[in-house]
Amino acid sequence: MNRRELLDLYYLEARAKLIDVAAFLDRLDRAEGEPDFRLAAFKQALGEVQNEKVPRAERVLACLSDPTVDPIPVATTKAACGAWPGK
């Protein structure tokens, strides 16, 4: 598909998601609270979205991933939260 066809197919959906992200950040700004590693990772990933080089999706996922290589000593939770706490 050419760029025009892909825009016809996905533009409105991507536009809606973009506005959702902006509103999400506004909502966080209106709220009180401590700095949070998830928001920091999210903003770093947004920078990768702006970077014109491909592959953006892969780089965004890397920003939101644990960059270490060694197994952790023990699993103390089953859950994942979508960003690396850096501990």
Binding site: L61, A62, K78, A83
Partner: protein, 271 residues
């Protein structure tokens, strides 16, 4: 349209889902053993679950003319307890004789801990000793990249394991290349929020050779979509893929991988 659902947790779904899947063209469903949403307290709990997967659930599917297959293991979320895991692994061999068991899965990692890796190695050894196919769950979200690397290391370290007989599931843009480059099969999971959308799955299909890729819904007790594969087929059509290419991806590819088990047989009938 015909398709194979290679990863669905039907024990958590209502019977109407079977009906909807068959109406949408589902020709077979495969169910990996997984976490129930709570920890089972003993190996006996897994014994009952394996009976459910090998006896009860196939009967439920058969009411709709749908062949049901399964994979057995103790899942990575319950692998921190190595003693429990080893007790569970010891009861698996007798279930491997059951007619609908395709292999060992979904094994893998969850939080990438040392014990999880130990239990993964035990499962890989079990699969090698019994010449079973392997279905691997890769971790969620921030743990996926590291976990996928660790899993591939474990599989490569065992010389008895052939990559072409291992499916690495839940790949995304940052893991799909290393999986395919290693000669493994990759599964793209169409699951809301935490995994992959249909549009992104189609991107990966267009970027990489789709020879060793399949799609699945991984529908379970969470908010998930049992018809995610037929919906992704619509996405493929919107993106200009031919009917033949779609059939290759959602029917022939899973059939090719799963047919490496002599137990995988389809009822060749059209709806």
């Amino acid at each position: 349209m015909r398709y194979i659902e290679p990863h669905a947790h039907m024990v958590s779904r209502v019977t109407n889902d079977y009906q909807d899947m068959v109406l949408a063209g589902c020709a077979a469903v495969c169910e990996p053993a997984f976490w129930a949403g709570f920890d089972r307290s003993s190996a006996d709990g897994f014994y009952d679950y394996f009976c459910q997967l090998t006896e009860h659930e196939p009967r439920r599917a058969a009411k709709f003319g749908l062949p049901h297959f399964c994979w057995l293991c103790i899942n990575p979320k319950e692998s921190e307890d190595v003693k429990l895991a080893s007790d569970v692994i010891s009861i698996i061999p007798k279930f491997l004789e059951k007619q609908n068991v395709l292999g060992i899965g979904e094994i893998g990692l969850n939080k990438n801990s040392r014990n999880e890796i130990k239990v993964l190695e035990m499962h890989v050894d079990l699969a090698a000793r019994h010449d079973q196919l392997i279905l691997v769950h890769t971790p969620h979200l921030e743990d996926k990249l590291k976990g996928t690397r660790l899993i591939l290391d474990v599989l490569r370290a065992d010389s008895r394991i052939k990559p072409g007989r291992c499916l690495i599931d839940h790949v995304e843009e940052h893991t799909v290349k290393m999986v395919l480059d290693g000669g493994f099969w990759g599964g793209m999971t169409l699951y809301p929020e935490t995994k992959c959308t249909a549009a992104r799955a189609v991107d990966m299909i267009e970027l990489y050779s789709a020879e060793r890729l399949w799609m699945n819904s991984a529908c379970d007790w969470g908010v998930s979509v049992p018809l995610a594969i037929p919906l992704a087929a619509l996405e493929l059509r919107r993106r200009g893929h031919s009917a033949e290419a779609i059939d290759r991806l959602i029917y022939q590819n899973p059939k090719r991988f799963l047919s490496q088990s002599p137990k995988f047989k389809l009822i060749e009938a059209t709806i």
